[in-house]
């Protein structure tokens, strides 16, 4: 028999008792059959609705455990059995206490179950997002296949209004796609040939054919689901306190109830009935569930809310750490800036661009695409390169037409010969926040290429908001001080740490951590060590899998504003956890003494049924407060 059925049976059977309780003081009306009717009704409740509490309590007891069922079972059994005894010696009975406590506790459990499934709603929504089938090319035509049969490399047709089945790349057609369910971005995104699409997003206007790249558990949606699942069931350090309390809570309450009885009966000379009522109230008001539910439900709702907005917080520990930050450090390229640098000037002849582009086509440096794009636009022919080498943090070198070519930064220690005019030009360009790449043949500079990566349009506002939250903002970059400083000024960043090699990023974070609690925001493979080192690593945007693995918070959209939103969400969730814990503790800390009759001197007493009601509502209020968190704006 489920909880809902048990509740309704208990409610219907206890209604006559309620009517009598309300009417009797005014009219003296009693139930037909008096105590016997009460005994029969309550016995039915005890057998049908309360028996599971008793059997659970007993099996827990056998294993040296005690939980809420122990308290409810003991409290109601005491009231029930004493009332039977009182009936035979013609003393007042309190069957209704047992009946109402069972009814109220079950009511609490029914509502709590509903709320708990509400709290995990975000997860169930995510699980149903994926497409069930896809139009896959087999032979000459597209046929409908179940999603499990799609393999990487398949060509899939997606018609307007349909879900994109898997992660892939558009190979023909164009369309605009609603990606809000995965990235939280409400404006549809235009896609054309060559663009990546995400499984579970909705194709709106055009018909497209995509090539499947990631299927099954490799898709972005599957990864998001995995992260959210882990987060929702993780622990927050703040729980350690409640974990300790919950171990001893119930047995301690049993002892307090006994002491309550002994004090009233033995030391204050009250009747057995009065002392028992106090003891029973203590048993039924104590609520370990509220303590146990306070953190997990809020975590569940908070992380679910984040997922809806494309903000994935990996676990409770990160959530807690995100509340205690002093400093936030940003990687520059791709994080503060758009990450799509463009060549703005070429100093020197066509040869400069040609040699640079020939080498850059072999490089993975973020500036390489800019040089190649400029070469393509200028219709420069690329030359073959031998002995290509990437020199970390310096540049690249290789042999073109038997000449040693170097493309990279102007550093004193490389022993390059640079004409004074060029050196001057470098300074001028750097003042304009441009990255200057020097091209040298046989250690002699022949020209310069200036590249500029402009800040994202939301950067300035996002940084301002973070500063308003009281955070110090720092930019960490491999670029030189002049370039970095210019960008930092444009967006309003407090401090710049420039000229840091990728391998030294983590060390730079560690140095800051000596005095501050640090968050690091980055997006690339070379950011992974710094993301792991920071107290809170925030991996941004279409970041690489490595960055997603290393980050504690993953932002699916490449939007800087989400950094502030993620921190706000953490604060909101953490504050809700604290509020829940506060209420759960207060309920018990205040409720138990009141129930024990400590304040009876000033007329403050609780009958067992009111205690039962209070208990039911304590866990309910904790869960609903968590559910309400899901309605807040971030």
């Amino acid at each position: 028999m489920n909880v809902t059925k048990r509740f309704w049976i208990s409610l219907i059977l206890s209604l006559p008792l309620l009517v009598e309780m309300l009417v009797r003081p005014f009219t003296g009306w009693m139930l037909p059959g008096g105590d016997w009717t009460m005994l029969i009704l309550t016995s039915m409740i005890m057998v049908i609705s309360a028996r599971p509490f008793v059997s659970s309590a007993w099996s827990a007891f056998e294993q040296h455990h005690a939980n809420m069922d122990t308290l409810v079972a003991l409290g109601t059994l005491t009231a029930y059995l004493y009332s039977i005894y009182a009936m035979f010696i013609n003393k007042p009975v309190f069957f209704e206490s047992a009946a109402f406590v069972i009814t109220f506790v079950l009511l609490g459990q029914v509502l709590e179950e509903k709320m708990r499934s509400n709290a995990s709603g975000a997860m169930s929504k995510l699980l149903t997002l994926g497409a069930k089938s896809a139009l896959v090319k087999r032979g000459a035509e597209f046929i409908e296949l179940p999603i499990e049969q799609v393999v990487s490399g398949d060509l899939i047709q997606v018609r307007p209004g349909e879900k994109i089945p898997v992660d892939g790349q558009v190979v023909s057609g164009q369309s605009s796609i609603d990606e809000s369910m995965v990235t939280g971005e409400s404006i549809p995104v235009k896609k054309q040939v060559g663009d990546s699409v995400i499984g579970a997003t909705i194709n709106q206007t055009g018909s497209i054919v995509i090539k499947a790249q990631k299927v099954g558990s490799d898709t972005m949606l599957a990864q998001i689901i995995e992260i959210v699942q882990k987060a929702q069931n993780s622990h927050a350090p703040i729980q350690n306190l409640t974990d300790k309390v919950s171990d001893i809570f119930v047995p301690a309450v049993l002892i307090i109830a006994l002491v309550t009885f002994l004090v009233w009966f033995v030391f204050l000379g009250k009747s057995v009935a009065t002392a028992l009522i106090y003891a029973v109230s203590v048993l039924v008001i104590a609520c370990p569930c509220a303590l146990g539910l306070a953190t997990p439900t809020a975590l569940m709702v908070g992380t679910g809310l984040g997922a809806k907005h494309g903000i994935l917080i990996k676990n409770g520990e990160i959530l807690e750490a995100a509340n205690k930050l002093d400093t936030i450090v940003f990687d520059k390229t791709g994080t503060i800036t758009a990450g799509k640098p463009q060549v703005t000037e070429v100093v020197g002849d066509r040869h400069v661009l040609q040699l640079a582009a020939s080498l850059e086509q072999l490089s993975e440096h973020p500036l390489a695409p800019a040089v190649l794009a400029a070469a393509k636009a200028a219709q420069v022919k690329l030359l073959p390169v031998n002995h290509f080498r990437a020199l970390e943090g310096q540049g690249i070198s290789g042999q073109v037409d038997a000449q040693a070519v170097f493309v990279g930064t102007l550093k004193q220690d490389l022993g390059l010969v640079v004409a004074p005019a060029l050196t001057e030009k470098v300074k001028v360009l750097q003042k304009e926040a441009k990255t200057v790449v020097l091209v040298a043949i046989n250690h002699t500079a022949i020209g310069l290429i200036a590249i500029q990566d402009t800040p994202k349009k939301e950067a300035q506002k996002a940084i301002k908001e973070l500063k308003q939250q009281g955070l110090k903002t720092i930019m960490l970059t491999g670029d030189n001080q002049a370039v970095a400083g210019a960008i930092a000024n444009q967006v309003g960043i407090d401090q710049v740490i420039a000229g840091v090699l990728p391998i030294d990023k983590a060390a730079a974070i560690a140095k800051l951590q000596q005095t501050d609690r640090v968050a690091f925001v980055g997006d690339g493979i070379n950011d992974a060590p710094a993301l792991s080192q920071a107290d809170v690593g925030i991996a941004m945007g279409s970041g690489t899998d490595v960055a997603i693995e290393a980050g504690g918070i993953v932002l699916i959209k490449n939007n800087l504003k989400d950094v502030g939103r993620a921190l706000k969400l953490s604060q909101k969730t953490f504050n809700r956890i604290k509020l829940n814990l506060f209420w759960a503790f207060i309920y018990n800390v205040l409720g138990i003494p009141v129930a024990a009759g400590v304040f009876s001197g000033i007329g403050l007493v609780l009958s067992p049924e009111l205690a039962g009601l209070a208990m039911a509502f304590s866990s309910l209020s904790v869960v609903s407060s968590s559910v309400l968190l899901g309605r807040s704006k971030i």
Binding site: M1, V3, P52, F53, S55, S56, A57, W58, S59, A60, F61, E62, Q63, H64, H65, A66, N67, M68, D69, Q109, E112, E113, R116, S120, E226, Q229, K230, A231, Q232, N233, S234, H235, Q239, T242, D243, S246, I248, V250, P251, L254, I255, L258, V259, F261, L262, F265, V266, P288, C289, G292, L293, P296
Partner: protein, 123 residues
């Protein structure tokens, strides 16, 4: 007289509660049964978990068969925080929970109210 007897009985019961719930006791440990390339173990969910500790062999796919015989709503889910598993346990039915045994270590599990606990040890 009755009061003195009550007091003595009360104190004895308090001492019993303290001993029964707070006293040291051994934890029931179960070894999974390895069959070909799989291992599995049955766990009874009744007033807690039987056994409370499960030892699994590293690298062999493992299944824990939870069977809830207890109507307590506290035990209606089983949660493995480290694996992100949150599995509903319908009363009276066997629910299979797959455990990743690729990394050795200790992995706790708990009920939805975090009152009852168990532990998987991967060796």
């Amino acid at each position: 007289m009755i009061k003195i007897i009550s007091l003595l009985v009360g104190l004895v019961v308090i001492a019993f509660i303290a001993w029964w719930f707070f006293g040291k006791r051994s934890v029931q440990t179960g070894e999974a049964v390895v069959d070909a390339d799989k291992q599995s173990i049955d766990i009874k969910v009744k007033g807690g978990y039987l056994p409370e500790q499960v030892v699994l062999k590293k690298g062999i796919p493992a299944t824990l068969n939870f069977k809830r015989l207890d109507s307590s709503s506290c035990l209606d889910h089983v949660i493995f925080p480290k694996f992100g598993i949150n599995q509903k346990l319908p009363q009276g039915e066997v629910e299979k929970v797959e455990i990743d045994t690729s990394k050795p270590g200790e992995y706790d599990w708990e009920c939805s109210m975090n009152m009852f606990h168990g532990k998987v040890i991967v060796k």
